[in-house]
């Protein structure tokens, strides 16, 4: 081969790879407190994907109350993946628009929840109200901040954790209902999402205790200083499983199925799990979990499947219109 044609061939090869390397854009529709997590993760995933395929992928994020986000996708927001606060909100994509198959939760391991979290208390420095456990929240004069369980995923976990605590301690569903009703009597402000409640508690200085996602509580302490807030871990809490899914109809239309799938799979990789842990989400991977064990307080956790028979049932009994939450708040 002559040098000239060799050069041409090389040039052609470069051009071919350049033409094959695509610019891909993904949209990740997520809930309120995952902003920081996915900013980190998107950068790492983009690097991984470019190394693997040569394609440049940009992931856009959208955040808001979990239920509101699900509704936006149902109404046509072209999300490639959704990473929401709880399975019930992902279920809504099947129930209302058939955007995903019914058995979506079985497609990825660990119930499609690559990281978990739990509910803890954030109190003001020195814990002036001496709040130690759930039963301190129903005492008269204690002001509790939580978002509205009707609109916020996090608030539903809060509510269910309080319910299960009361059921175990007081021994009956009826007593649990009374307990939760008393708790919500102590709530002066119901924001629609977790971030809104954090703002109310931290910036407006309303309330003695914030019921918060563990990661959100850590973030608040990190952001606003350990001289202002403390984290209190109750004796019992709920294993919150924020779930993720491909939005099948959208990725098929956009031709992004492979990359969107890889985006979710990579959350389970060592690197993905490390990022989750660094953002205060509890990793599923045992080696990573062991590495970050000191970071997460030990607390007895129960699952929603064991205590409430799964999300579909809990949603219907407690949070649907006319359900128990409506009953206790209209009394």
């Amino acid at each position: 081969m002559k040098p000239k044609s060799l050069l041409l061939a090389a040039l052609a090869a470069v051009l071919a790879t350049a033409a094959a390397a695509k610019d891909i854009e993904l949209l990740n529709v997520s809930y309120d407190p995952t902003r920081e997590l996915y900013v980190d993760y998107n950068a790492v995933f983009a690097k991984y994907w470019q190394a693997k395929t040569g394609d440049k992928v940009t992931v856009k994020q959208s955040h808001g109350g979990s239920g509101k986000q699900a509704r936006a996708v149902i109404d046509g927001l072209a999300a490639d993946v959704i990473t929401l606060a709880l399975a019930a909100d992902v279920d809504a994509l099947y129930d209302n628009a058939k955007l995903i198959p019914q058995d979506w939760q079985k497609r990825l391991s660990n119930n499609s929840a690559p990281y978990t979290s739990t509910i803890v208390f954030l109190v003001r420095k020195g814990n002036p109200q001496k709040i130690k456990d759930w039963d301190d929240l129903v005492k008269p004069g204690v002001s509790v901040i939580t978002p509205n369980p009707k609109t916020s995923g996090g608030a539903r976990w809060n509510y269910l954790a309080a319910w299960e605590f009361a059921k175990r301690k007081l021994g009956s569903e009826a007593k649990a209902q009374e307990f939760v009703a008393r708790l919500f009597k102590n709530v002066p402000v119901l924001d629609s999402g977790a971030r809104g409640s954090t703002t109310t508690f931290v910036q407006r200085e309303v309330g003695d205790v914030l019921l918060a996602w563990e990661n959100e509580a850590f973030l608040a302490v990190k952001e606003f200083g350990a001289d202002k807030f403390e984290i209190v871990v109750p004796s019992l809490s709920i294993l919150a499983e924020p779930t993720v899914s491909l939005v099948d109809k959208n990725v098929k239309k956009k031709g992004t199925e492979a990359v969107a799938k890889a985006y979710l799979d990579y959350l389970y990789s060592d690197e993905g799990q490390e990022i989750a842990a660094r953002n205060y989400y509890r990793p599923r991977n045992e080696t990573v979990a062991a590495k970050y064990a000191a970071q997460f307080p030990k607390v007895e956790l129960f699952t929603i499947d064991a205590a409430f028979g799964g999300w579909t049932k809990a949603q219907k009994t407690h949070f649907a219109d006319g359900g128990i939450f409506d009953q206790i708040t209209t009394k």
């Binding site: 109350g65 239920g67 509101k68 509704r71 149902i74 809504a92 129930d95 209302n96 509205n148 009707k150 609109t151 709530v187 002066p188 402000v189 119901l190 924001d191 629609s192 910036q203 407006r204 200085e205 309303v206 949070f319 649907a320 219109d321 006319g322 409506d326 708040t329 209209t330």
Partner: protein, 275 residues
Amino acid sequence: MPFRPRRSVLPGFGLSLGFTLAYLGLVILLPLAAVFVKTSGMSWPDFWAAVSSPRVIASYQLTFGASFLAALFNVPCGVMLAWVLVRYEFPGRKLVDALVDLPFALPTAVAGIAFTAIYAKNGWFGQWLEPQGIKVAYTALGVWLVLTFIGLPFVVRTVQPILEELEPELEEAAATLGATRGQTFRRVILPALRPAIITGFALAFARAIGEYGSVVFIAGNRPMHTEITPLLIITKLEQYDYKGATALASVLLVGSFGLLFFIQLSQRRARRAHA
């Protein structure tokens, strides 16, 4: 006899009326019709259950009550502001005049957040008011406050042009005829302003009923206490209950329209009685 417009010296009646109807239809009636079409998918018992649950009733009371009181409060304050702006010359008058329109232009969410920050326990006013037992942020009082804020320009801007046309000579004449200041105000000025005041009140009232952005920040949103109806509509949407949401929306729509219509009607009657 078929309807036929009187020949006007200005041409283009057919075209402009056609345009008006098409425009109204497209911009106002079509979206509103969609609300009723969605609602009509519900059976009567479902509809009734959606619009009459205790929580919803409490939200009507707050929405209509706070809106009414806010509009009412704006009447004396707005008239006074308009009076000052029209009758007196003072440095900075133009500035004050422009300030009045600010609630029109400002995104209402900004107003809501600002009011909340000021009146929360650690805010500029809140830190003084709360120890006195006066809670503004996260109460119905806060709702009323922001509704007053957004309603003010409506009263000022409807009363102002009428006041401008009302000549001071009228008042001077009343005074020379022996009327006291109070009599001049009640018998001369107020009757001339009444239609404008009523219109301003109605506009402020209607605007407040639909207000969402500012209220949700300051209200606290507790069911039965500080939850406004527009928030319940959003809440229902977030639970994928589109029909329930449109049912509430239709109640608000019919309520607001009924009020505006009634006010128009009574105003016309008052004007006729006055003439």
